[in-house]
């Protein structure tokens, strides 16, 4: 039973629910208490112990339903195609036992007819000889017996056991599905069944041949079932492995090459990275809260020590939050980078000081408001839509910036400029950049192009880089994470 639980937990981890070993132990003692009998109770119990955020609870619900479906079916014994056949088949088994291969009487006929109708759902690929209805021989192979018993429960149990035997939980990619289906069938005793089918189908006895037809049909049905089972297990165990691989790749891939369909995934990665940075930097703030000695509070507090001052009280300083100005080139070539940088900056809200953002291609405009009023994705989409036309003109953009808010830059301000510095041979206006450089605490230039093309063609990076504190190549999420991480360290 513990194995069921651990593989369920593995499935949950696959689905991005974080579960520690300690929580696994908790879950085990909780399950010991509640048992596997009552499905709802089990779900409630595990939902309390394993997932720890509303998001995770949602994932948990889905995974639980998927994982424990077989448990669900167990209670009802036979479903779908075999439905309703159960009791009749049992009756038949009972009456047929003593008669062996003898020709059927009245009641046997009726049942056989019923069966024929119910199994008509199966497509018969080859034309079978019509053997009419009547008594059938008893199967001899283990799997054959199992199939003829019409007991879905036993079959399922057998299937799960076989799956464990062939380590189905190690399935990695979807191309392995067929392989595992076959492996499981073989483990369940397919070879014997095949043997039996071919023997009875050639047998002169009609009941034997009837059995052959029946077994063949049921073998196909079983194959279907096993395939379903493998499919489900694949979704549980392997789907996320592929996802992890994709995420790993996305971190390294050039942001301009990220395809549209992957945006959501990238966004998730960005949020996760941001969350980690938040966790890392939210503690640091506290240290800065300690400031000067708070004389009156110290005196008051130390009265209880007879006035001897040994327990000091400090003034907590209100942190003067530094500012970050992000200036993004959103013209076609760089737009994608701007998208992800803005996403990153704004997901850091909790630890990042106030961010003001500006977008330009030729003229510069402030988009801070857009981000305050809209959801992140909408704001980014709007920014790109409204400002990405026009050819890049850094000179004009700097001019606009000077007119708008150069006065607001002080020695606590960090300016981040994202752009390829390709100015279409226009006036670079380095004097404005110098002014910004002089006034700000830090000016960081992030260039999505690789370093050796920084000065090729119309790129003005050589001129600009004289007036920045730091110029970095930045074209993947990993770069972005590193740069923003450093930024957080320096500005706080």
């Amino acid at each position: 039973m513990d194995r069921t639980l651990t593989s369920f937990i593995a499935a949950l981890r696959n689905a991005d629910v974080r579960i520690s070993t300690a929580e696994t132990l908790d879950a085990m003692s909780a399950v010991e208490l509640c048992g596997y009998r009552n499905r709802e109770f089990l779900k409630d119990t595990l939902a309390l112990v394993l997932p720890k955020t509303p998001d995770e609870k949602y994932t948990f619900d889905e995974t639980f339903d998927q994982f424990f479906t077989f448990e669900d079916v167990k209670g009802e014994s036979v479903v779908t195609e075999l439905d309703g056949d159960g009791e009749e088949a049992e009756g038949e088994g009972g009456s047929g036992q003593g008669q062996g291969g003898a020709e059927g009487e009245g009641p046997g006929d009726r049942k056989g007819g019923g069966k024929k109708k119910k199994f008509s759902a199966f497509e018969e690929l080859e034309v079978e000889e019509d053997l009419g209805t009547g008594e059938m021989a008893q199967p001899r192979s283990t799997l054959g017996k199992l199939l003829m018993q019409d007991s879905r429960v036993e079959l399922t149990v057998n299937m799960a056991a076989a799956a464990k035997e062939v380590s189905l939980e190690e399935i990695q990619v979807f191309t392995q599905k067929g392989l595992y289906t076959r492996k499981i069938m073989e483990e369940m005793g397919l070879a014997d069944l095949q043997q039996e089918i071919s023997v009875v189908r050639q047998s002169p006895s009609i009941p034997d041949r009837r059995l052959g037809q029946e077994l063949k049909k049921r073998r196909e049905w079983l194959r279907e079932q096993v395939r379903d089972y493998v499919e489900k297990q694949f979704l549980l165990h392997a789907d996320a492995t592929g996802k992890k691989l994709r995420e790993e790749l996305l971190r390294k891939v050039k942001l301009s090459n990220v395809e549209h369909r992957n945006f959501r995934l990238v966004q998730e990665v960005v949020f996760r990275m941001a969350k980690r940075l938040v966790a890392l930097h939210s503690r640091r703030k506290k240290v800065f809260k300690r400031g000067q000695l708070h004389v009156s509070r110290t005196l008051r507090h130390n009265m209880s020590y007879d006035g001897s001052i040994f327990d000091l009280r400090w003034k907590s300083v209100k942190i003067d939050r530094p500012k970050v100005f992000a200036i993004c080139d959103v013209s076609g070539s760089v737009a994608n980078y701007a998208r992800f940088m803005l996403m990153f900056l704004y997901s850091l809200e909790e630890v990042m000081p106030k961010v003001r953002s500006f977008a330009f291609s030729s003229d510069l405009a402030e988009v801070t408001d857009l981000f305050e009023r809209n959801k992140l994705e909408d704001a980014i989409a709007k920014t790109l839509r409204d400002y990405s036309g026009g050819s890049t003109d850094y000179g004009q953009a700097f001019e606009d910036f000077r007119n708008k808010c150069l006065d607001e830059i002080d020695n606590r301000t960090t300016i981040i400029i994202l752009g390829d510095a390709r100015n279409n041979y226009g006036d670079p206006r380095t004097e404005i950049l110098k002014e910004m450089y002089d006034r700000s605490k830090r000016l960081i230039w992030l260039n999505p192009e690789s370093r050796n093309t920084w000065n090729v063609g119309d790129a003005e990076m050589r001129k600009y880089s004289a007036y920045v504190h730091q110029a970095e190549e930045c074209n993947s999420l990993t770069h972005l994470e590193r740069i923003v991480g450093n930024l957080l360290r320096t500005i706080q």
Partner: protein, 338 residues
């Protein structure tokens, strides 16, 4: 359900008789917390209607001796859960309200400085007697050492909620309210008490819980993420807004006087409101307040003027009130039609 309740109450009063003989309330609790069904009925008899998930949480908390971290939007009954549990188990409730800057001295213990000072003054005079006959400095110091650390013993310690909860003989319910409002440091401070039911005081040593460890509830409004270390030690219960059916039962339990038709209408109305884009959606506590208000105004059925006049009971922002005002007639027609 009523029949069940009656049976349950009878069982409970019977138990209480037994309890007197046994001489402790422990059996009572054991019986009550013995199954989820019992707990749910118990909560119901204390006018707290809960889902099976909530009852399971309390069940596991009691059986596994684990604290429960309760999260959810404000006003869904997180604090109430702890209060009702205490009431039901007939245990004292010890409450610690968290806020920014809460520290050890206010949460666990503090020394009684005044008493220490006073005693030193008094003892100054008897010091001579103690030191009488002592030869040399070393001997005097040795004699003083015999005093030990009496000034830092439990006599001089002022227990704060967390320590108090550990010292309760028959166990108690400890409610650490709005833990998200406290600092990160305080969270780490809680870890020891949550995992081992003990606190370490440098001068005295480790103080462990008495026979029965407390049942601990932590509540959080999600204003910030609680650290993984804390989450790992707790059962995690998320209480969402209730569905129509559950909310009707809650209103029935809390405001039994309200006519069923009006109850249905007002719950539907509130449920509709929750789907709107509001700054603060009304929670259960607001629904209850509103039900009381309507009862006070002898309302039979919802109508536009009445709702408009009493909207400030359920909506706490002028902006929201303005937004809803425009749609009030549609909302009411939805609520009043069958």
């Amino acid at each position: 359900m009523d029949l069940d309740n009656a049976a349950f109450c009878a069982e409970k009063s019977f138990l209480r008789v037994v309890v007197v003989v046994v001489g402790g309330t422990v059996t009572d609790i054991d019986k009550l917390a013995g199954s989820v069904g019992n707990l749910q009925a118990g909560f119901e008899s204390h006018r707290y209607i809960c889902s099976s998930q909530i009852a399971t949480a309390v069940y596991l908390a009691y059986q596994l001796r684990k604290p429960v971290l309760v999260e959810g939007p404000p006003g869904v009954g997180k604090t109430e859960l702890a209060k009702t549990t205490a009431e039901m188990f007939e245990l004292p409730l010890i409450r610690l309200q968290c806020y920014e800057g809460l520290d050890e001295a206010k949460a666990i213990y503090e020394w009684k400085y005044g008493k220490q000072l006073l005693y030193t003054q008094v003892l100054k005079e008897t010091l001579d007697e103690v030191l009488q006959g002592a030869k040399g400095f070393t001997e005097s110091v040795n004699r003083l050492h015999e005093f030990g650390d009496i000034f830092f013993s439990e006599e001089f310690m002022e227990p704060r909620p967390l320590l108090k909860a550990l010292q309760e003989e028959n166990g108690c319910v400890l409610l650490i309210d709005e833990v998200d409002k406290s600092d990160h440091e305080f969270e780490s401070l809680l870890l020891e008490i949550l995992s081992d039911y003990q606190v370490s005081i440098p001068e005295i040593g480790t103080i462990k819980a008495k026979a029965e460890p407390p049942i601990v509830f932590l509540t959080s409004n999600n204003t910030r993420e609680i650290s993984d270390a804390l989450k790992r030690r707790c059962l995690h219960l998320y209480i969402p807004f209730p569905d129509t059916d559950l909310e009707q039962r809650i209103i029935h339990a809390r405001v039994p006087e309200i006519p069923p038709e009006l109850r249905r209408q007002l719950v539907t109305f509130i449920q509709e409101l929750r789907d709107l884009d509001l700054k603060k959606v009304p929670a259960i506590s607001e629904t209850i307040d509103w039900a009381r208000t309507l009862l006070l105004l002898h309302t039979e059925s919802l109508d536009a003027t009445l709702v408009r006049d009493t909207l400030n009971v359920i909506l706490k922002f002028q902006e929201d009130i303005d937004n809803v005002d425009a749609e009030i007639t549609t909302l009411i027609s939805k609520a009043t039609k069958n």
